[in-house]
Amino acid sequence: MYRSNLFRSTEDVDYSRFPCFRARLKVDEEIAWNAFKSGKITVPHYVTGGNVYFTDWKLVEEGFFDDLALGKPKQVTISNKKVTEARIIGSMLYRAINSYLIGLDLNCAGGITARSVYYMPNDDMFVKKIQRDEEATYSVIRGFGPKIHAMAKMGQVLLFFETRHNFRIDVARDNWSKWVGFGVKVKATPSFRGIARLEKVDRKKGVATLKYGDNVFESSLDLVYVPASSGTLGKRGLYESMFEFANFNEEDPTLPSSFAFLSNIFHTILEDDSLKLRMDTQGRISCSFHRIRFEMS
């Protein structure tokens, strides 16, 4: 009998008849997404096809939809048999897991869904920092994240917890001159998503001059960051040591096994090998998952 890192939804929720609420939007979807983001709304939700799907009526009572929706939201049933509805269910579950894990004092890096990395800050098991005073602080976050398969089995949801990692480079304002010639990105500029070359830094004005193709443009230094790519870390001679910390290597007994790492985490996040997610404040919907054991047939 094998223990696994795979969980299956329990029978008390039938995901082919999953209850939630739907509000018809009177604004663009992007405005709705931004409203959730800026309001720091943790209620599981998903915006698609001119509608918002969510699981907690509290949002309606608080007037959250007054400026967003046409008429009063309705209760609906969605099914994981359909691609879009399975995506809605999956996305709402990712957000519920996020709330659950944040509630256990874990931090999240890299987004909420497929790239999320959950970790304990200030814990050597999860975070390794390399401080180079005149250059940057390099961090490796070694953690875990959920991967949901909402459409794999009719009426059920399967959920993996897998190990993940994230690299970061934090450059102090005085140290930007050390990064001239390197590739950088700019935060919060939807019009530019590429990697630009850092050409010049004006520390006094707090401005970076960047080049992308033939275009030269300026950006506030506060918005510029160095993506922690393997190439950049390699040039700084740090990639191998950072990757070694992040890697869970089945070949090397000196490194932690990913299952042993996850087993440690399961002690923190599970109760009786199960995970219970509250989808609303009324306790109307709760989604439970049981850990699966495997045996040879």
């Binding site: 094998y2 080049k211 390699g234 089945e250 299952f259 495997f294």
Partner: protein, 453 residues
């Protein structure tokens, strides 16, 4: 408690000389006394040349490995016994003196000298490298020269040499020598084994590989490579095609490839497949062309693949995405330490007809014990392949035969000293290597398909 069952695929029967068959190559050679399927007919006694970096005396320890490879090694455990090379393969080998290289030009010179000999097929150059190479680095430069000059090379990492001499126990050394010897033997033109059973229902396997274009510090490069590797339904190499300077981008996690390049290369590949079919009309109607990919591609790429296959008159196809690190981890907390992991061949469908997990090799060792399973996976967590059905002819889906084929194709990496680490079908590895070599300067795919690297 929620329970699921793992099913098992039988390990592939491998075919040795005189129609002998076995599932475990080392058991076949070491205990059963089988002989390799094909011993090369060479004009002279094969010579192994050895080059190591100057100013690194530890690298000279590679000679210990080569001497053990030639003379054999005894040990108290079954796996630690490695027979002399000549006894196992019916081929004597001569070891050259250890030579030092200062830079890659010294290695070129050595390869070029050998290439001038009429008996160059009887030479293999073993080169110790101090580190793994990035794209275009030392490894790729040497392999490209090796292909240009038609001289086989075997790169070995200094770390491996150090481990062999200082860290490995008897059993590990035995494992290593078996792997290494298969690599050297096949690079001398030998075929130690092949699959003993036809992979049913398939005309040919193709792997599609790309090296993506990338952005670097404000300069947008569009110099991707697309490569196809082909094998027939016995798993024998059938063709290798690549095209350089192709636009390959990544958008929303999926690779977008210039469709005309895909079309032209696939046409060539399908022509090659058709030429090799015994009964083309019947095979084109009844059997599948199976395309394995290890990266995610945009739908437009899959559509172009499907369209080209149909244009060439092949009626059935499947595109299967194989992810090397599936997320499933299994752990047996019982006391049976040596059998703690699902054996190679264990599989489970996450979603019927679409997603499966398949344990192929991972880190495993040869075992020549009569009592145990031939391949024992180490008592640590091992990840399965995640096998995803992407697209296919109407009505087709992922079936257990597809998993069986993938599993069997993982047993044909005998040319690599890295056998224990390779979980993927050999077609994917060779195709990916071809793409990387092309991206590192290899000019043309016009070299013998039997050339292994």
């Amino acid at each position: 408690m929620s329970k699921e069952s793992l099913d098992m695929l039988e390990p592939p029967l491998l075919h040795f000389k005189a129609g002998k068959k076995a599932t475990d190559p080392v058991k076949a050679f070491a205990i059963l006394g089988y002989h390799p399927l094909k011993v090369p007919d060479l004009p002279s006694i094969p010579k192994i040349h050895v080059l190591g970096p100057a100013r690194d005396r530890k690298c000279k320890n590679v000679m210990t490995i080569l001497e053990d490879l030639k003379k054999g090694k005894t040990g108290k455990y079954p796996r630690s016994v490695y027979k002399p090379f000549s006894e196992t393969f019916g081929l004597d080998i001569e070891l050259g003196e250890y030579e030092e290289y200062k830079d890659v030009s010294n290695v070129y010179r050595k390869i070029t000298e050998i290439s001038r000999n009429a008996d160059r097929k009887a030479h293999v150059v073993v080169v110790v490298s101090t580190a793994r190479s990035p794209l275009g680095g030392f490894y790729y430069e040497i392999k490209n020269t090796s292909i240009d000059k038609d001289v086989q090379t075997q790169i070995i990492l200094k770390k491996t040499v150090d481990n062999y001499v200082m860290v490995m126990d008897e059993s590990n050394r035995g494992d290593f020598l078996w792997n290494f010897s298969f690599g050297i033997f096949s690079k001398l033109g030998g075929i130690p084994w092949r699959l003993g059973q036809l992979l049913q229902g398939v005309s040919a396997f193709m792997s599609l590989n790309t090296v993506s274009s990338f952005e670097e510090a404000g300069i947008i490069k569009r110099e991707g490579v697309v490569a196809f590797e082909l094998a027939n339904n016995w798993g024998d190499p059938l063709g290798r095609f690549f095209s350089k300077g192709v636009e390959v981008n990544i958008e929303k996690g999926a690779r977008v490839v210039d469709l005309e390049s895909i079309h032209i290369l696939m046409e060539k590949a399908l022509d090659e497949i058709e030429l090799a079919l015994v009964d083309p009309e019947k095979c084109k109607e009844q059997d599948y062309i199976v395309i394995h990919v290890k990266d995610r591609y945009a739908d437009t790429v899959y559509d172009k693949v499907a369209e080209t296959i149909a244009e060439k008159g092949f009626e059935k196809f499947k595109i299967i995405h194989i992810q090397e690190q599936g997320p499933l981890r299994l752990y047996d907390d019982s006391k049976q330490i040596r059998q703690a992991w699902p054996q190679a061949g264990a599989y489970w469908y996450l979603e019927d007809g679409r997603i499966a997990f398949l344990f192929t090799l991972g880190t495993w060792r040869y075992s020549i014990s009569q009592e145990r399973e031939p391949y024992i996976i180490g008592a640590r967590d091992v990840s399965p392949l995640q096998v995803n059905f992407v697209k296919g002819t109407k009505g087709s889906k992922l079936i257990t035969d597809d998993l069986r084929h993938i599993y069997h194709l993982t047993r044909l990496h005998y040319y690599s000293a890295d056998i224990p680490r390779i979980k993927m079908p050999f077609t994917i590895r060779l195709g990916a290597k071809a793409a990387h070599l092309a991206a590192s300067g290899l000019a043309s795919s016009d070299f013998p398909i039997s050339f292994l690297y």
